[in-house]
């Protein structure tokens, strides 16, 4: 009897003590460790962004220019490499991917834990760079400045290099799991769409990350051994660095957005009580985005002295990304149409995603157009654009996912009213902050300067005030999420009437997820209402 009880204890309580967490091979626990680690980096990166907005609140310097350069660099580098790239696949993907296909774990649990520790080592180096005094190159580490900069470029790029292996191993693990570990009856075409997006992400992780690995490796050698490959003084080519960097970093923006899109597919469907509109179109469009993502990196280099022909081709190819992306947005919207919409917090975030990601996507088309980009490049228009995709897109998807799956992960409900309040703060704050940056960019304000002309003062003030609202929104969220861990109402197994497998098991799940092989529904969104 005691044994049976133990076998059915939930994953949080099945084993006790901090050590049982540190050596766990349970994908759910590894997912939770990733979640807290990456959220910690989100807070660090977020504080830097508040510092940046504080400097830009009014014209005239507040911090030293050098301090400002380090603040925006650390904001960008931490947010990109330590938060937004890993969080959805490594935290939510790890937790839910095996459950959603009816498996007990990922294909390689040890590798999974190893990739967490690799991530921890890489991230510690990046944080080490921060503590040692920061980096001032911008998150893109462009040569030749990054070769000469006296700041801690080696530490942070070594961190990025090492983190890359963590991403490769996670992606590889997920791909194998999806191919080989699906429960009997589960196929690629009745699995939840979140998994299609994780699969597409994993392809990019495996294929693109090695390139940023070798790029940062060469940059480190450039500084240590003076190999001169990127250094014009030694005959090297600094533009080659940009090609290498963006060959990874453009696909990497889809490592960031695709998992967010996957969450939206789940949440929009569940909270519309309706089958997704165009399952296959949504599924294949993830693969199409992953494929096209490898062909467009040159759009970051329209003014770097690329040949006019390359500029033309990259501009043209970039437009193609809009096609599968728009297919997704249309399908989500069509799913909402005549659905029984429930406006719970996850759904509010999903709707915020649809609104803001569309703005981010359409302004992306502006920037893909060659002549417009030459005018707008390196202005705040670009900053606003990618924040609309990264924060308005990925982070909204993430928050939808965290709220949607919170009851499953921790067995507690978050307080719904506070969820809506914080969502309202974030939504309003975000749009105030970044719509004004579109205007600033259009007016010609360049990015990355610590000071500006007085004519930009008004909109900068607006933008900085908006960022404060975002900060308050997140503060409220972190408070109620922590509160709910102990005090929140006990979550039922299926609070949202979800049809996917994770909702058919207890909240929180037992250690091995399922007591018996689960029955696989013909479709993950069986609401009896056609898509």
């Amino acid at each position: 009897m005691a044994h049976a009880e133990h076998a059915h204890a939930n994953y949080l309580e099945a084993k006790k003590g901090i050590w049982s967490w540190l050596v766990t091979l349970d994908h759910k626990r590894i997912g939770v460790m990733y979640l807290w680690t990456t959220l910690f980096f989100f807070v660090v990166g977020g504080l830097f962004s508040l510092g940046v907005r504080l400097e830009l609140l009014k014209p005239g310097p507040l911090f030293q220019p050098d301090t400002y350069n380090k603040m925006f660099t650390m904001h960008g580098a931490i947010m990109v490499f330590l938060f937004i790239i890993p969080i959805i696949p490594a935290a939510l993907g790890n937790f839910f991917l095996p459950i959603m296909i009816g498996a007990k774990d990922v294909a390689f649990p040890r590798l999974n834990l190893l990739s967490y520790y690799i991530f921890l080592v890489g991230s510690s180096l990046a944080v080490g760079a921060l503590i040692a005094g920061g980096v001032d190159t911008g998150w893109t580490f462009y040569t030749p400045y990054s070769i000469r900069s006296a700041s801690h470029v080696i530490l942070i790029t070594l961190g990025v290099f090492i983190n890359g292996f963590s991403g490769i191993l996670t992606g590889l693990n997920f791909m194998v799991t999806l191919h080989k570990l699906k429960a009997p009856g589960m196929t690629f075409f009745n699995m939840p769409l979140f998994l299609w997006s994780i699969y597409a992400t994993a392809i990019i992780q495996v294929l693109a990350t090695p390139v940023v690995g070798i790029t940062t490796f060469l940059l480190i050698l450039e500084r240590v051994l003076k190999i001169g490959i990127f250094d014009p003084a030694l005959g090297g080519d600094p533009i080659l660095f940009q090609h290498f960097f963006w060959f990874y970093s453009h696909p990497a923006v889809y490592i960031m957005i695709l998992p967010g899109m996957g969450i939206i597919s789940e949440v929009v469907t569940v909270f519309s009580r309706k089958h997704i509109f165009g399952y296959k179109a949504v599924a294949y469009s993830s693969l199409a985005i992953a494929f096209i993502s490898f062909l467009v990196w040159g759009h970051h280099m329209f003014v770097s002295g690329q040949s006019p022909l390359s500029n033309f081709l990259f501009s043209w190819l970039t437009m193609f990304v809009a096609v599968p992306t728009a297919i997704k947005v249309y399908n989500w919207t069509a799913t909402l149409y005549r659905g029984s919409i429930v406006l719970a917090t996850p759904m509010l975030y999903a709707l915020s995603f649809l609104f803001m990601f569309t703005i981010g996507g359409v302004t992306g088309l502006f920037l893909a157009a060659l002549s417009v980009d030459v005018h707008l490049h390196d202005t705040y228009f670009v900053v606003a654009h990618f924040h609309y995709t990264m924060m308005g897109g990925t982070v909204m998807g993430l928050l939808a996912g965290i709220h949607y799956w919170w009851p499953k992960m921790f067995g507690r409900m978050y307080p719904e009213l506070w969820g809506k309040i914080s969502c309202a703060f974030i939504f309003v704050g975000f749009n105030v902050t970044f719509l004004s940056q579109f205007i600033l960019g259009k007016l010609g304000m360049p990015r990355r300067y610590h000071d500006y002309f007085p004519e930009y003062a008004g909109w900068n003030m607006v933008s900085s005030i908006g960022s404060l609202f975002i900060g308050i929104g997140f503060l409220i969220m972190f408070i109620y999420l922590f509160w709910s861990l102990k005090r929140g109402a006990k979550a039922p197994a299926n609070p949202w009437d979800g049809k996917t497998l994770e909702w058919q098991i207890s909240s929180p799940p037992i250690e091995h997820n399922f007591t018996k092989v689960p029955a696989i529904p013909a479709s993950p969104y069986e609401y009896g209402v056609k898509g």
Binding site: M175, V176, H179, P210, I214, L225, I227, I229, L234, G235
Partner: protein
């Protein structure tokens, strides 16, 4: 012969085997892309300075490079034989073949060591430390940057391979494998063939263009 325990999250041995193999192939793909970046850099600089590559390549020792190529090809063969013997329940021969493979790898590294020390002695070093006046082209240092980075990264892979082969050799000796379960040996074999393959590209591109 010990029986291998299948990890609990797999249904059967075949599923575990197929998963490991797929995972390892994906890893090899990422390795190829890692080297791919370096090959792209090679192509860029060779097309920028074709004459310099021609001249600088002449400084490399073709005899040593060629000998090393033969050594690695032989080692790929003995590795394949080692895997084959494990699959046929013949651990004694398997251990022998794996040991020969390690010996070949060691020969490769020793020769590489002599090549490197000669270059370092002459001052044929990565760009910033280069001091050799035998080549007239001012961009020749870049060739040696690429030479050291590409063969150096390859050398690191050879060392890792030696470690991995030693590890499977010890496990073969201990009797961990049989014709029912030999996944690690096969995967290390795949890794070793890739290391060999990369050298087969490096050798002509570096040594034979002069």
């Amino acid at each position: 012969m010990s029986t291998h325990v299948i990890p609990h999250h797999f249904d059967n041995a075949e599923q575990a085997y197929q998963s490991s193999k797929l995972g390892f192939w994906l890893f090899l793909v990422s390795e190829i892309l890692l080297f791919g970046g370096l090959f792209v850099a090679y192509i860029v600089f060779r097309s920028l300075y074709p004459d310099m590559f021609h001249e600088a390549s002449g400084e490399l020792n073709r005899i040593m490079g060629g000998f090393n190529t033969i050594v690695l090809i032989c080692s790929s063969f003995t590795m394949a034989m080692g895997v084959n013997r494990v699959q046929h329940n013949d651990p004694k021969k398997a251990v022998m073949f794996l040991a020969i493979t390690i010996a070949f790898a060691a020969i490769f590294m020793v020769i590489k060591y002599f090549e490197y020390s000669h270059k370092i002695h002459l001052g044929l070093l990565p760009a910033g430390f280069y001091h050799y006046d035998g080549i007239t082209h001012p961009r020749a240092p870049l060739f040696f940057s690429l030479y050291f980075v590409m063969t150096g990264l390859h050398g690191v892979h050879v060392l890792v391979g030696m470690g991995l082969i030693t590890w499977v050799l010890l496990r073969v000796k201990r009797g961990d494998f049989s014709n029912q379960y030999y996944t690690p040996v096969e995967l290390v074999g795949l890794y070793w063939h890739l290391v060999d393959l990369i050298w087969i590209y490096l050798f002509p591109l570096m040594y034979l263009i002069g």
